[in-house]
Every structure is written in structure tokens, then in C-alpha cells.
Amino acid sequence: MMSSLKIVFSGPVGAGKTTAIGAISDAAPVSTNEQASDMTRQRKSETTVALDYGVMQLDSEEKIHLYGTPGQERFNFMWDILANGGIGLVLLLDNTRKDPLTDMAFFIDSFRDYISQTALAIGVTQTDLKAMPRLDIYNTKLREMKMSAAVFEVDARERNDVSLLVQSLLFTIDPGLEY
């Protein structure tokens, strides 16, 4: 089931992973959402407890699998399973959370090996609700972590935003890729 042609979407609870996958997937993403029963409920009533799955059919033979990791840290073991081969990691961060910069550091550290072998693109969501921290602060933090990645403001519901984020991932791997 797990083809190497995949893009992993990760990030904290409520960052928009399921929505982002839905924005570019050919079919509605298969989600295993459940009623949140803990602190997660404060952020959203349903949360992904296993994983999300979407697909982009490229032609009759090839397709790209889109996997969304569960946001809760207690499902970390799932991340290792998902982050095995593939194109890269799209990290979505919710700007309204208490400390999105710490979120970013946590997820980058968790996926550091995977990122070092593939590529990373970061989308910051909910900036319309909370402007701070601005993207320059995310970029400063990234430099402190000796990391380099595209960091864009995104609305996970907007296909164009998610598409640009994934495109930045592709060009990070190969800037010579032509349209």
C-alpha cells in the first residue's frame, strides 16, 4: 500500500492537514476522524487518530499518495511508519496556537532524518486570525535550526495555496524541473 511516491502532511492538531490533502486530492480524503475526548477538543471536535489518505492520479500508471499524520504526539509511532521514502514533508502550523515556533521545532526534530533525505515546505495557517508570529520570525527560527525551507502563509482550503506549497517542495528537490 505504501508506495514510495508519497507526500507526508504533518503538523499539530487543527493546523489543516486533512483540509490541505482534500484541497489537492483527486477524491475526498479517506479520514479516520474520531470525536476528540481530551484537550484536543478545545481546538476541534473531531481529530485524526490514525491517518488521512488522499491521492493524485498522474496517469494510468502513476499516482502520488498523500498521507496526513495524526497531530497528537501520542501517535508518534505512526509518523515513523509514514516517513519512509517519498518526496517530502509538508509541515502545516497553526498560527493561533500558543507557541507555533515550538511546534515547528518539535516537528522538524521529529522528522529531521526524513527531511534530510527529502525536502521540507512549511505552510502557516490561520494568519488571518492571528498575525503574530510573522513569517520572518519563523524563518529566523529555521536558520537557528540550520534548516532551509519555503515558508508560506496558506489557507488550507485554497487549492492554489496548497499547490504552491507542494510546488516549492518539488523545486527544492530539483530547481531545474520545468513546467
Partner: protein
């Protein structure tokens, strides 16, 4: 006697390495390399006595005497010698590694040395295996030949026969709103001809863009709102909320961007309440946007596919961070250019050759990121001790191209219109 100092870190054996001739920056780079690329298998120590391997930067100033003395004290120490050009050493047990260092090969070499020293604790290592880089290790380090081959691939001669692709399609795909207004329409200049070269430059300092950038610097520095007056038109820059406010429409701003003025622009501190009152007094719509998107737009209209004067197109330029391209007007190939420059500093003329795109796309993009203060000419010739690693993708490039096609061609059956001005 072979030194094989190791420490136990968690469950893993850790081999200690000392340095000679490495500055603080290089030391930190190596520490990071040991931690991340080598998974903490190696660690840096200050004292040579505690180390089992020593890394020497032989290109460091006046290092020869220091290394000789070191070799006398630690005659059987395994040395990794870093150099850009030297290949022969009188030091025993030395292994040459060419700069820029390749992560993977250095890691392999360390493993080979570590394995041997660990295996033969208390015994002499056969000199025919380790001396002066002969033997098996030779194939595992960066050779001059490899470097030359790589350099040849990037020379203009190697790509001169490749014609520029039709980029109009790319521009259309990314939804550029009236490309000519942002990056002009002039053809590529012959960069070998001095007269032509002059045409690629413009002087933002004497234009509205220069006034805007100076005003923004003041607003940021003093964390206040600054009124910038240029040619009797006012723009207000909020240094706290990163906003630009004006009553001027694009149809006024755009031509204003092309004018050079000898009149000095004025800058004055102003509070936001007064700004609102002034803007509302005229009964016109108040236009407010992020300062980044305002500077981006103004610099594109001003440069129209040119670069600020005094930019050296043959010197590497850096991009410290990607511009927020989901919220800015996208110039053609902006993502590709950003990815290439962000990867490692590269000269603008090489960006044009690598991506095979018109000069004006590269120049326009550079002018805009330069105006935002996130790009500039790299001051260091070699910006990194380590060679920048290419991202690995095990699949075929055609798959990436197909995916890119899917992302840019269709939105529910319609053409995509990325980054339309918001």
C-alpha cells in the same frame, strides 16, 4: 600505541575527534555534522590527548609548524587533512579530504578509520593501508577529477547549445497578472557587451522605491509610523504592524515607480490616528496592505526586469529566506529561482544559464527580494565549508514533472491561476 579514546553516550560508543586550524565557524559546522549526519557517533574534544582522530585544515595560515609539532607528539594519530589544493603530505597516517567536503564521503572515511583504530587497539596500523591517502580510502574521498568533472558540467560551453525554453507557458501557468508590467518585455542583453550591460541596471535610490525602502528602514528602526512624501504624494508605513497605507491607486503608483527625481523625499514620524484622519479627509478609499507586498509590488514595477545598479551579476547572491509567494505577485519562474538561490549562493548569470530562462525573470525576482532585504551579494566566496547536498529523490524525474503538471494545469478542470494579486 594507538589512541582510541571513546566515551559512552547513551548506548552508543562515541569516538572523540580534535581539530587543528579550524575556526569557530568550521568547528561548529563539524559539531553539527557529527551530531546530525553521523548520529552522534563522533564528538569534538578540545584536548588532543583525549581524541583518537584529529582533523587538520592544512589551508589555514601558518599551520605547517603546528602540525609538525603535533605529529611529533602524536606520531601514530590518524589525521584527516582538509585542503582545497594540496595532495602530498609528509605527515604519517594522513587521509586527504578535498574541500568542499562531501558529507557522505567524510562520514564513510571516518567510519573506516574508526573501525580500524577500534579493531586494532594496542596494535600498529599497517602504514601501507593508511599512509598518505593510498589504498582503499582513496576511492572514498573527493578527488580533483570529480570536482573538475562537476565544474565542466556547469560551464557555459556545456549548456550553450541548449536553447531557452518557451517560458510564456510557465508565466501563464502561474497566473502572472500582466507580466510586462512587472518584469518588462525586453529581450536578453549580451552580457559581454558593455553597452548592453548598462541596460540591465536601474537606480532605485533616486526613485520612489528608494524613498520607500529608506522610509521602511526608519519605521522599523524606530517602531513607529513614517510618512514618506515623494513627488508630493504620501505613503504611510507602520513599523509596528508592518503595514503600508495610502490613498494612491495602482494606476497612480505604477507610473510613479518609473520616475527618477532629484527632489529629496521627506520622511516624518506620524501617529496612526492622524494617518487615518488624513486619509479619510479626502473621502477616497484607503488602501492598506502588508509592507512586504507593497515593497514587492513597487520594486517589480520599478525594476521591470532589471537589477539595482552596482549589482555584480558574476558574484554569488544569497537568498536568506523564501519570499511569501502565496501572498505576493508571482513573477514567472519565481519558485524555481527561489529554490535555486536558497539552495546555495549562485551568481545571477549562472541562475539564467541553469534554469534556461530570460534574464528579465531572474533580474526582476532578484530586485524584489533584494528590496525586501532577504537577498544580496554574498560576501564570502565560499559560503560553506561543506558542499551543499542535493536533495535526493529516488524516483524518476518524470514523476515530479507530471506532478508539477497536475498542480499547475488543472483546478477542477480549469486552468490554475496561482498567486493572482490579492
Amino acid at each position: 600505541m594507538i589512541f582510541n579514546k571513546t566515551v559512552k553516550s547513551k548506548n552508543a560508543r562515541q569516538t572523540l575527534i580534535s581539530f587543528i586550524g579550524l575556526d569557530n565557524r568550521s568547528t561548529k559546522a563539524f559539531e553539527l555534522f557529527f551530531k546530525i549526519s553521523c548520529h552522534d557517533k563522533y564528538a569534538h574534544v578540545e584536548k588532543h590527548e583525549e581524541a583518537s582522530i584529529t582533523i587538520v585544515d592544512i589551508d589555514a595560515y601558518n599551520i605547517g609548524k603546528q602540525v609538525k609539532e603535533f605529529c611529533q607528539s602524536f606520531s601514530e594519530r590518524q589525521l584527516i587533512v582538509l585542503s582545497t589544493h594540496q595532495s602530498e603530505f609528509e605527515f604519517p597516517n594522513s587521509h586527504l579530504v578535498r574541500k568542499p567536503i562531501k558529507h557522505v564521503e567524510l562520514s564513510k572515511l571516518l567510519d573506516v578509520i574508526d573501525k580500524k583504530t577500534h579493531k586494532n587497539v594496542g596494535a600498529q596500523i599497517s602504514s601501507d593501508v593508511s599512509r598518505n591517502n593510498h589504498g582503499k580510502e582513496k576511492s572514498e574521498i573527493n578527488t580533483i577529477k570529480e570536482v573538475k568533472e562537476k565544474a565542466v558540467k556547469r560551464t557555459p560551453a556545456a549548456i550553450e547549445n541548449k536553447k531557452y525554453r518557451d517560458t510564456a507557458q510557465a508565466a501563464q501557468l502561474i497566473g502572472v497578472v500582466d507580466e510586462k508590467l512587472f518584469v518588462g518585455s525586453h529581450p536578453d542583453m549580451d552580457l559581454e557587451k558593455p553597452r548592453d550591460v548598462l541596460k540591465i541596471f536601474y537606480s532605485p535610490k533616486n526613485m520612489f522605491q528608494g524613498a520607500l525602502q529608506k522610509g521602511w528602514d526608519l519605521a522599523k528602526q524606530n517602531r513607529e509610523t513614517v510618512e514618506v512624501k515623494f513627488l508630493e504624494h504620501a505613503v504611510y508605513l507602520d513599523g509596528v504592524n508592518h503595514l503600508a497605507m495610502t490613498e494612491l491607486s495602482d494606476s497612480v503608483l505604477r507610473p510613479m515607480c518609473l520616475l527618477e527625481s532629484k527632489d529629496t523625499p521627506t520622511f516624518s514620524s506620524i501617529d496612526n490616528k492622524t494617518v487615518k484622519e488624513r486619509l479619510q479627509a479626502h473621502g477616497r478609499a484607503v488602501r492598506s496592505c502588508t509592507i512586504e507586498s507593497f515593497i514587492w509590488k513597487i520594486s517589480l514595477w520599478s525594476s521591470r526586469g532589471r537589477i539595482p545598479d552596482n549589482t555584480d551579476i558574476y558574484k554569488p547572491v544569497f537568498l536568506s529566506e523564501w519570499p511569501n509567494l502565496t501572498r505576493l505577485q508571482q513573477t514567472p519562474h519565481a519558485l524555481r529561482i527561489a529554490a535555486l538561490i536558497a539552495h546555495e549562493p549562485i551568481a545571477l548569470c549562472d541562475v539564467i544559464k541553469e534554469l534556461k530562462i530570460p534574464q528579465r525573470y531572474v533580474f526582476g525576482f532578484y530586485s524584489a527580494v533584494n528590496a525586501l532585504g532577504i537577498a544580496g551579494v554574498s560576501r564570502r566566496t565560499v559560503d560553506s565549508l561543506f558542499e551543499v547536498q542535493q536533495k535526493r529523490f529516488m524516483g524518476e524525474r518524470s514523476v515530479l514533472r507530471k506532478l508539477l503538471g497536475r498542480l499547475t494545469h488543472t483546478v477542477g478542470g480549469e486552468s490554475s491561476s496561482h498567486a493572482v494579486a490579492r
